[in-house]
């Protein structure tokens, strides 16, 4: 219990620090959102529009940084994250609500599949080391893990979608068709296959290698030899004894990765013109859209912190030793 309380205290403190940095950082960026907006029009707007835009964005109100900071906390607790400047006058919450399902669907699912597949393959390749299968798995995993993601996804888009026309060239579903609900679900799945595959292949290698290495060192431990000597089944030794212990370090990485899902995947979204948070985050940064930027970073920080907290929690269940650790 003490362990959990201490983790909770730590969570609150890091949460406060992360959110305060989240407030300060955007204000340190050079530039003025209204100027950015007006310059985007490349001379089609009258210069007087600068004032009009500043008025519309509420930038003319002269407030001290401290007052803004207090208002920021107030906004966080009231759940009103203000207006986005890039998508003005859409509310930040609306912009996010539209993109989050796509991101969680694609990047979240991709991360889970990659972790599960990678870990399973890692277990197998460690268990069957020196077999041809394991020998192929490791260099393959290394190759896909180190290949530039942008390049791989462009190549797959060009070959599978453009040349062979097996998959659509982009988007989350067929936007020009008028469809019933099931057709739409089918269309969404069809459009997700290619981007999902790229995420899974590139992310899987890392999990595979980590798991394989952990498995190898665990398999050399005395208690495994003891378990063998007891005559336990291979299956039981592999999963209950070895994998359960070997997965612990991977697990921390996995919870971090889940936290970062909220950030979306900019490259996937750009290459496949897929809806999601990554592109919105990028847009908000280049157009100095403070409210939107802060909201996305807020969710990323919260997701990472919560995922870490959950990991600590589950860790304590998987490995009871951590509860006593350091006391």
């Amino acid at each position: 219990m003490r362990y959990l309380l201490r983790r909770l205290g730590f969570l609150l403190f890091t949460g406060w620090a992360a959110l305060s940095i989240n407030f300060i950082l955007p204000h340190l960026m050079p530039g003025d959102p209204a100027q950015v907006m007006i310059a985007k029009f490349q001379g089609r707007l009258n210069p007087q529009a600068l004032k009009a835009l500043s008025d519309a964005f509420g930038l003319t109100a002269d407030k001290s940084l401290f007052v803004k900071y207090l208002e920021y906390w107030q906004r966080i607790f009231s759940g009103d994250l203000g207006f986005s400047l890039t998508y003005y006058p859409a509310k930040v919450t609306e912009v996010l609500a539209d993109a989050i399902p796509w991101t969680i669907g694609l990047v979240g699912l991709g991360t889970i599949i990659a972790f599960t597949l990678g870990t399973l393959l890692g277990i197998i390749s460690a268990w069957k080391r020196n077999s041809p299968l394991a020998d192929i798995l490791v260099p393959t995993a290394l190759f896909f893990n180190s290949i530039p993601y942008f390049w791989l996804s462009l190549l797959m888009l060009y070959l599978l979608a453009y040349q062979l026309e097996w998959f659509p060239l982009g988007g989350g579903f067929d936007v020009f068709a008028i469809m019933g609900i099931w057709d739409k679900v089918g269309s969404i799945v069809y459009h997700a296959i290619l981007p999902l595959t790229t995420i899974v292949i590139t992310a899987m290698g890392g999990w595979l290698l980590t798991m394989r290495n952990n498995m190898m060192s665990v398999l050399a431990d005395d208690y495994i030899i003891f378990a063998r000597a007891k005559g336990l089944s291979d299956r039981r030794i592999k999963y209950k004894y070895a994998a359960r212990n070997a997965i612990l370090p991977s697990f921390t990485g996995f919870s971090m990765a889940l936290g970062f899902v909220i950030g979306g995947s900019l490259l996937t979204e750009v290459v496949f013109s897929y809806p999601g948070l990554g592109y919105i985050l990028y847009q908000s940064v280049i157009s100095l859209d403070y409210p939107l930027m802060q909201a996305i970073f807020l969710f990323i920080s919260l997701a990472v912190l919560l995922a870490n907290f959950m990991a600590d929690f589950i860790y304590a269940i998987l490995d009871p030793r951590v509860k006593e650790g350091g006391e």
């Binding site: 530039g31 100027q35 003005y88 006058p89 936007v175 020009f176 750009v270 013109s273």
Partner: protein, 549 residues
């Protein structure tokens, strides 16, 4: 004069109603699919917002302006207005509005809607992005239900284009909207050729307006705007014929687009602006006219067009005036002063002004110090500007000047330009319009040079000259072409002699399309919409004229 304008407008009206599609049988129906790098669309059809904040199509398919003024040559197409004239020494603008037009909810459109729209912008200054009320307009009133009078405190005839390009909203809907700048207008009531259909953040589809005021148009049943997140996706979609049109820069379009299907793939890159090398005249080095002149002679512009734009977009005229406007506005009597690449001449100007060169060929200023390296600012990752900057720095080595390329991300790039912390910078003309006035007004008028608060809204060179300010005022006060030509002539003479900035290449709109399904696109032979992007005001004319093959 005013009579001539009215006749001009009437003739154009005739051309527009009869001209474009005549003998051949026209096929109705079908959908045009347009993709653009909009990223993610917002369910917002508020026409007062800057484009990009509302969904694409708001300014082309849904709402209509009073007139459309071509950015190429200033040709005027009537829309909700049918004729206009200046009266009372250009202090009054009278606009006749179209009769028989209905809003998409059945309510008749009248001059009162026009008056309401303008007064609404006066009440809510945040909507007045074109600065109509900030520029001498004092009163907008309806004389009859199809005649509007706009009164000016002092003449400002170039403001006509901004007035003409105001999207008109229905009074009976908007008079009840209290907070228009945050109103998303999810169910737009419009006069335009299309009405809103289905929306998602990835695409918006518009359906034909059954009660549109042109009986025979539009030809299409629907228009779809699809949001792509990168130019690569848009290009692949176009090449695979999944879309019909995109406003998209393609490196080497002859090879990357046309060669893939020469019968169907086309592009029309219409020149509407100029890329300029701005010289920060508030910096000591650039206060010397001779130095600026020498730079102008030392930059070879042909390679810029060849390398940065694959020869598709030509080098700019030294006056900065775009090709479509040159016949009317360039003063040929000045052609002897128009500079071109000439290193000897550049060196000659420098040595006459007291500059010299040291043993290694570096430039030494008149007081004997080595001229420090000159920074040249471009946006980070903007390949066309970066390759121009490289060629320029190579070019000016010819007169012993060292140039350092400085890349900055978008927000700090524009901040450096407006804040005046740069040395030289490549950027587009901060103003462009139907006459060179727009370019000169925004790039040279002293009001925008940041003299008041340090922020140069559009006169990035921070150059001010009473002669230019007076010439701009003379242009504004007149609706007589000869007087206006004189004013422009005065300015262009100073632009080439005093070199406040150096025009580099033309700047174009990138219309790329394929004609396997849909024809009738604007092109160089028939530039009926000035080459405006398909989601901008001129896009409306495109949507009205394209049709199934």
């Amino acid at each position: 004069m005013k009579r001539i304008f009215t006749i001009y407008v009437m003739v154009l009206m005739l051309i527009c109603t009869v001209g474009l599609v005549s003998a051949e049988e026209v096929r109705y129906g079908g959908m045009v699919r347009i993709a653009g790098q909009w990223g993610s669309l917002t369910n917002n059809f508020n026409p007062f917002l800057a484009s990009g904040q509302n969904a694409p199509g708001t300014r082309s398919a849904l709402y209509e302006t009073i007139f459309f003024v071509s950015p190429l040559d200033g040709a005027i197409t009537p829309v909700l207005g049918t004729a206009y004239q200046w009266e009372d020494n250009n202090l009054k603008l009278i606009i006749e509005t179209r009769q028989g037009v209905k809003w998409s909810d059945g309510t008749p459109f009248t001059a009162n809607d026009v008056v309401f729209t303008f007064n609404y912008m006066k009440k809510h200054p945040a909507l007045d992005l074109n600065g109509i009320w900030a520029n001498d307009v004092t009163k907008v009133e309806a004389l009859t239900d199809h005649k509007v009078q706009i009164t000016f405190a002092k003449p400002n005839t170039p403001l006509f284009r901004y007035i003409a390009h105001t999207l008109i909203v229905p009074e009976h809907i908007w008079s009840e909207i209290e907070e228009p700048s945050t109103f998303t207008n999810a169910n737009p009531v419009v006069t335009g050729p299309f009405v809103k259909g289905q929306f998602s953040s990835q695409a918006v589809i518009y359906q034909r307006n059954a009660t549109y005021w042109m009986e025979d148009k539009p030809y299409l049943d629907s228009v779809a705007y699809q949001a792509a997140k990168s130019n690569d996706t848009a290009l692949l979609l176009l090449l695979r014929k999944k879309i019909d049109y995109s406003h998209l820069f393609i490196p080497d379009p002859e090879k990357a687009l046309v060669a893939k299907d020469p019968t169907n793939n086309k592009y029309w890159w219409s020149v509407t602006n100029t890329n300029i090398l701005y010289l920060n005249t508030s910096k000591e080095l650039f206060t010397d006219v001779a130095f600026r002149q020498a730079l102008a002679y030392a930059i070879d512009k042909d390679p810029l067009s060849e390398k940065a734009y694959y020869g598709v977009i030509a080098p700019a005229h030294p006056t900065g005036i775009i090709p479509g406007q040159q016949p009317q506005w360039v003063n040929k009597a000045l052609s002897g002063q128009f500079y071109s690449y000439d290193l000897e001449k550049a060196k000659d100007i420098l040595s006459k002004a007291g500059y010299s060169w040291d043993g290694s060929g570096s430039l030494i200023d008149p007081s004997g110090n080595k001229v420090p390296p000159v920074r040249i600012l471009v946006g980070a990752g903007w390949t066309d500007f970066i390759s121009m900057a490289q060629l320029i720095s190579k070019s000016v080595k010819g007169i012993g000047i060292e140039m350092v390329i400085e890349q900055e991300p978008w927000s700090s790039y524009i901040n450096s330009l407006m804040g005046g912390t740069y040395d030289t910078a490549i950027c587009w003309g901060s103003g462009s319009g139907s006459t060179p006035y727009d370019l000169y007004y925004r790039t040279l008028e002293s009001t925008f040079a940041g003299q008041d608060d340090g922020i140069a809204e559009s006169n990035y060179s921070r150059y001010s000259s009473p002669v230019i300010d007076a010439a701009l005022a003379k242009f504004r006060a007149s609706s007589d072409l000869t007087v206006q030509q004189e004013a422009i002539s005065t300015i262009q003479q100073l632009v080439v002699a005093d070199v406040p900035y150096i025009p580099l290449t033309n700047r174009a709109n990138f219309n790329d399309y394929q004609i396997s399904r849909i024809v009738g696109w604007p092109d160089a032979e028939n530039p009926y919409n000035g080459g405006d992007p398909g989601d901008e005001l001129g896009g409306r004319l495109m949507l009205l004229n394209i049709r199934l093959k």
